[in-house]
Symmetry: none
Subunit: 421 residues, 2 copies
Amino acid sequence: MRVELLCTGDELVTGLITDTNSPWFEARLFELGVKVERIQLVGDVRPDITHALLEAASRADVVLVSGGLGPTMDDFTLECAAAAEGVPLVEHPEVVAWLRERYAKRNIPLTPGVYRMARVPQGSEVVRNPVGSAPLVIQRLGRSQLFFVPGVPREYRALAEGEVLPRIRAALQKDPERVYRAFRLLRTVGIPESQLDATVAPLVSQHPRVVFGFRTHAPENHLKLMATAPTQAEADAALAAAEAASRQLLGAAVFGADEEEYAPVLARLLTQAGATLATAESCTGGLIAQELTAISGASAFFIGGAVSYSEKMKMAWAGVPSEVLARHTAVSRETAIAMAEGVSAACETTYGLSVTGYAGPTGGTPEDPVGTVYCALAARGSPTRCERFSITGDRDRVRLFAATSALELLRHHLLTGTSAP
Amino acid sequence: MRVELLCTGDELVTGLITDTNSPWFEARLFELGVKVERIQLVGDVRPDITHALLEAASRADVVLVSGGLGPTMDDFTLECAAAAEGVPLVEHPEVVAWLRERYAKRNIPLTPGVYRMARVPQGSEVVRNPVGSAPLVIQRLGRSQLFFVPGVPREYRALAEGEVLPRIRAALQKDPERVYRAFRLLRTVGIPESQLDATVAPLVSQHPRVVFGFRTHAPENHLKLMATAPTQAEADAALAAAEAASRQLLGAAVFGADEEEYAPVLARLLTQAGATLATAESCTGGLIAQELTAISGASAFFIGGAVSYSEKMKMAWAGVPSEVLARHTAVSRETAIAMAEGVSAACETTYGLSVTGYAGPTGGTPEDPVGTVYCALAARGSPTRCERFSITGDRDRVRLFAATSALELLRHHLLTGTSAP
């Protein structure tokens, strides 16, 4: 199956935004054994879009077209699609009904522009957008099937995942040249990419059907395993063997696989242990609290987070004694420990987690320069543990890795169970 | 001048890496008044690259081609270029000398593969790579000039900046059709895209030299203004007029322009007012605190943030009376007001900002379903203001828009100065 992608929008050809939709979709297709043959990005110029549609349709079986489906005057991708096919644009009554319903629910006035989203090439199919206004439009052009989706990543992904990929998967079932692939992403934290590579390098020759790939997605590093074989069973078996060998070498650095994200994994460990958590954050400023509370059901384990950005609030909310601050300063092992213990006591939780450090770009001392971070974990029934980290990079990076380092103290504690909750 | 970009490499069509070179180059060209017409990404497939080269050359004056110039067997872009022109590949003695010098200096053995980098289409020009091995190759193909650069971002940028852009700039000086551009991005919050479009629609016909564009970047919506004119002065004047008219219509919904981000704008307003802030967050779980503390120097105005996820901590940290919680529940106007006032009192700040709501997917009541959020602003010397919002979408979206809604209460207060700090 030949697949091409066509992305439209001036913002994509003027450097305003980077196309992150295509790599995501390419990777999803690659898992199905399909390598995208060409990606094209064109600006908001009618003849350019029309030509690109015709060219892609002349080469590919499937073309995913994104962008230019919205309510504004620079949204005219479907006009070009109609021109390419030589049919008129017609207002689709079902889409009109969806739009009326959606806008009424949100109390947004239905401006005339909104109806642009209901005008589709005559004869094309429409599918409701579950997370936005503009529908998925499916058009036949010559031998090719064209799928039109909005460029907004949330809507692009919802429609590509929920509607486009299932249709491609069904078509592949009938493809005689099909190869089978099996895919696993092992997600690690706390191990640099070069070290991850060196650790699994000895496995490569032992697993000839599996390609080992690497991807950095700070603060995580991912190991991608892709097996290719003439049958699905053989691909699955090759993958399982390579995954087991990799996990053996990487141990607890692997926190999850495939779509598993860090915070939900940690949340599950906390919930399984019947434990509760409070946080006291200085340089990370709420990053840990917001990551954990992004999970639905966080209230089962997350009791409170103190963003104690000033010394005053370190004392008031995290119970840090003024003598500790005076003698050791706000960025110190002693303060981190007092914050973790203090916030845990204030919130009456099983665990208290704290971070204090110099995120930069200014601040720091000769002994504790910018990038120095102290993280502490207070655990009921265990001695409080504190670690010092030296993190390189800009403010955002220091904050991100500081948050992760703190969470890793907790995750490893929960995994090894060195203390009763 | 018509410019196209062609990027080659399997990693670009399988989702392994995102093409960040093109957006960078597009932006540099756009500053020169040139909008790239098309970007193509193709995998490591000889006929696909050859066809894409011929197609781009048939349309564009300049094509920047990247990737596939290295020493390994999957580097064959110049082979395709030679095939497209119908000339042989020849070893260029100057490039051989550069490679020998470079490899000797680094004590790397000159494997046979290295000489691949010296074989260029007969008749093409070569320019030494200041930061890598593969040279810049310049080929004439029909009416078009093709520039071949490595895909490695460091080398791509060095050659594009140092060699390709100066040649394009020189050509533009002689271009009788040269146009000049001026660009402004106006960033808004609190106004849906369709309404933004409808608001500025009357301006479009009054500013014929300006293209009005729109972009959604939740929770923000952006208005893009691009002026085109025969001189830079006229482009600047046309842009200034369109910007002034747009700002007039949009008022305080515009929080910044171009690269200005939301949190730094708010931070500046707070700093200018000599004001301080404390936050009490329930459903946003630290999102507001972390956004504000991401700014270097946040300690000048941000004193503390209570992530009072439990009722207990709403009482302890944000001073919410237990009667208020018992009578009105944690998600109510009364609780939001008590949180804002309480956290401001605890932190002794000019302002206290609070959020409480149902982020979903579960929770809510018939009167206050999922998506209901109460935001309150306590300002010293003014009555506390509380607003109720109904936000649609998933948990992430509710949290994001809840945080923005709260921050907007503060920004509008700071702009209108209805109370003394």
